[in-house]
Symmetry: C2
Subunit: 464 residues, 2 copies
């Protein structure tokens, strides 16, 4: 019927307990101190079992741009992203495969892919990502990244720059989105489509409203970038005369299925809007540092009662794709924002944010996010004999505050074991490596041109 993980350490309120965890079909069917069944028994000795984490925000197709783009603020970095993006479907598939493998091997069982679409191959892009996620066996949310305003619109006073209107109409984009939903949205199979207008910096109200309508009609999650940079905060007042968060609430985009990547530049009033709408913040600390976006006020969110999850963000802005790294950084970074250590995020809180906070952010809190009998078996087994997790002082303390390296022994998604002995079972990691290596040898250095068209404007409006 299923696996039994025997004598495994799990966290309990005051510490740890050693238990047997039984999986039947897709569910956790029992957590017992004594072993009753003798199905496929997995030795849990010197291992720690945790609920799977959610990688709450990434862009899988950036995998091939890792390490490539200089450290620049988001608006200029995006120019380089554009100039170095490939239109190759095979590369797109590899990016999703890479993202899925890295997520599984760093504690994640679920990924929110805010997925770029290849121009002219929009449905094929999503098909390639779905193929990769099904192959690897990860639970996936794919939010096709859409916008209906031109690149320059994202800069304060940006429309003064030479530009052409965006090529697709809002109606065409919404039509495409519905086609994606109809073809690919299949929660039972672990593939979920979400609406993903990129953010107010490049989206019209009509696009947000159309996406919200689709979300209501098909019960889809909503996923956007929100106030990642100071420039976006300036832009919101220029565009709406009010804060971007207030505007999004007014037009009905924020709800309990909405997750907001970054959320760096919010005011106290904005935070209250998130509380009222039960929206989720996805914290991407590595990316926020790499792009100099700022430190998101996560301790304020927690104090206010906003749900917070963690994300890696895309490989072009977090050239690592390790969820445990994002969790560590997203935990300790905030200690320098509040002198009172009693407000700091503990390792146990961090684990809960990564698992249950992540599950809430994708509207799955009743199904995943904790080791609870009856919930989906989305779980990760960590090898505590790995040097990076020794000695066993506090395994969760060291998992979060240390530098865990190749510590994932096994992963179950929807009750199915997709990683065993540190190896992803359904895909050939050596083949993935070889493909990336082959592509490296053929790749030519990109020419970064677009940045020259916008840099002086950026420096002027930002007072640099």
């Amino acid at each position: 019927m299923g696996d039994v993980i025997q004598n495994v350490l799990i966290p309990v309120r005051d510490g740890y307990a050693t238990v047997n965890v039984e999986i039947t079909n897709d569910r956790i069917s029992a957590i017992r101190h004594h072993l009753d069944t003798f199905e496929t028994v997995i030795d849990g000795q010197d291992k720690l079992l945790l609920p799977g984490f959610v990688n709450g925000h990434t862009h899988s197709s950036q995998a091939l741009q890792r390490g490539l783009i200089p450290q620049l603020p988001l608006e200029l970095w995006l120019a380089d992203v554009l100039d170095s993006s490939s239109n190759d479907l095979d590369a797109y598939y590899l990016g999703a495969l890479f993202t899925a493998v890295n997520t599984l091997l760093s504690g994640g069982t679920c990924v929110m892919d805010h997925a770029y679409l290849l121009a002219g191959q929009e449905l094929e892009s999503i098909r390639a990502a779905v193929r990769a996620y099904k192959e690897v066996g990860i639970r996936a949310f794919i939010a096709p990244l859409t916008y209906d305003e031109p690149f320059v619109a994202a800069f304060p006073s940006g429309r003064s720059l030479p530009h052409q209107p965006y090529s697709q109409s809002t109606a065409e984009i919404l039509e495409l989105m519905e086609a994606v939903v109809k073809e690919f949205h299949d929660p039972e199979a672990g593939i979920n489509i979400a609406v993903g207008p990129t953010g107010f910096q490049r989206c019209s109200d009509a696009l947000f409203e159309g996406c919200a309508e689709l979300s209501d009609r098909y019960n889809l999650c909503r996923h956007i970038h929100l106030l990642e940079t100071k420039a976006q905060k300036m832009l919101a007042y220029e565009k709406y005369g009010v804060s971007g968060v207030e505007h999004l609430r007014r037009i009905g985009f924020l709800d309990h299925r909405t997750s907001l990547a970054h959320s760096v530049w919010l005011t106290d009033e904005d935070i209250e809007h998130l509380v009222q709408t039960r929206s989720t913040v996805v914290h991407n600390p590595s990316s926020n540092l790499r792009l100099g976006s700022g430190i998101a006020p996560i301790l304020k969110y927690i104090e206010a009662g906003v749900n917070v999850a963690f994300g890696c963000d895309g490989s072009a802005s977090n050239d690592g794709q390790d969820l445990l790294e994002a969790i560590k950084l997203g935990t300790v970074l905030h200690n320098v924002t509040d002198f009172d250590y009693r407000h700091w995020i503990t390792p146990r809180m961090a684990i809960d944010m990564a698992a249950m906070g992540g599950a809430k952010g994708v509207n799955l809190a009743d199904q995943t996010g904790s080791l609870t009998v009856g919930k989906k078996a989305d779980m990760v087994l960590y090898d505590l004999t790995n040097l990076s997790l020794l000695p066993h002082t506090d395994p969760i303390g060291l998992l979060v505050l240390g530098r865990p390296t190749q510590v994932v022994d096994s992963v179950w998604v929807n009750g199915r074991r997709v990683v065993a002995n540190g190896q992803v079972l359904m895909t050939d990691a050596d083949h993935l490596k070889q493909e990336l290596l082959n592509r490296s040898r053929k790749a030519s250095r990109p020419q970064f041109q677009t940045i020259h068209q916008v840099e002086s404007h950026y420096r002027k409006v930002m007072g640099l």
Copy 2:
């Protein structure tokens, strides 16, 4: 005579070159485009060679406290460190072994161990560390951590707390230091003793002056903690009436052999003192976040011309001990401290800080720190076929900004290959793991008592 690394990538001014690097005895004897000799040839295909980095500040004996201590500000955290420290020489040796192995496997060829001394076994402690470092083959600086003032002296107004005078006299400590130098200081063998008064928060002027005198007499490096916390900054004015940096300069402690761990709370005038004295700052970003110490003004140091190196700090305040992690964090963290991206640290600058900045910090700039013919062969070979370093966009970009995992193929220290195929050659890593595992099973949970004697005072003086 030595190894030749064939067809290996090295960084050059405008990019990379593929070369052959020859090692003769302890030196880099040639870097050529064509291969002349046919000694032990190491295939450099798909590998990157860099000068070894310096782990400029750690406390090796904290290895057994990883993951153990809650996130607390330094002054309270130290109370827990005291309560959970072991007096076991075997554990001490294991800590040094662990630190050496982790440093080598994360790009380091040299470590500055600000080494706690076991009470009553001071010489034996150093002997255990020396044994570990010689066994593994890393270049080591050991700065015995000394102080002559009581624990409470480190708190603002701390002497109002009940306390006893420190048990050893300044003269006894200096006598011990000289004995350590005479027995262990052996630069040719790769073992260097440095003077290591912990910092002005627990050291008298007499101790600083005595250490400076030893440093002059034996040409030893000087290594201290400096202004790690806001509390220390307050204490300096309480103790000296001037900034701690100004005081240290007045008493003659700062010079070109002096490295200053942390250096978080310096003023612009303090920075000028570092420039004038050619002192080195050792940046420990992971620890500074974990303890909420603050973000050191590294971009200001670089702009002023202060030499900056990187360190991991001890395992109790950076539960990872991965130099590449410290370098990444110490690179991207500062992007949120200055909006002008033209001031940000590039990956190439970071590599140079880690290698040459580190070498300068231990007064070895003429001997190590770069791939230069005639210099000591302290070098690290990275495997670019590792998934975490793929694809090959910019290998140094990805090494610094990514999340490199088990990427070190080989390491040479003083011309001797001490790591090959990712394995430390002279020690048994499995034995190290087993020892740590055995100790885990026997360890009892420490009782954190001391914190209760100082916490309310700390909260009061810090306005919490």
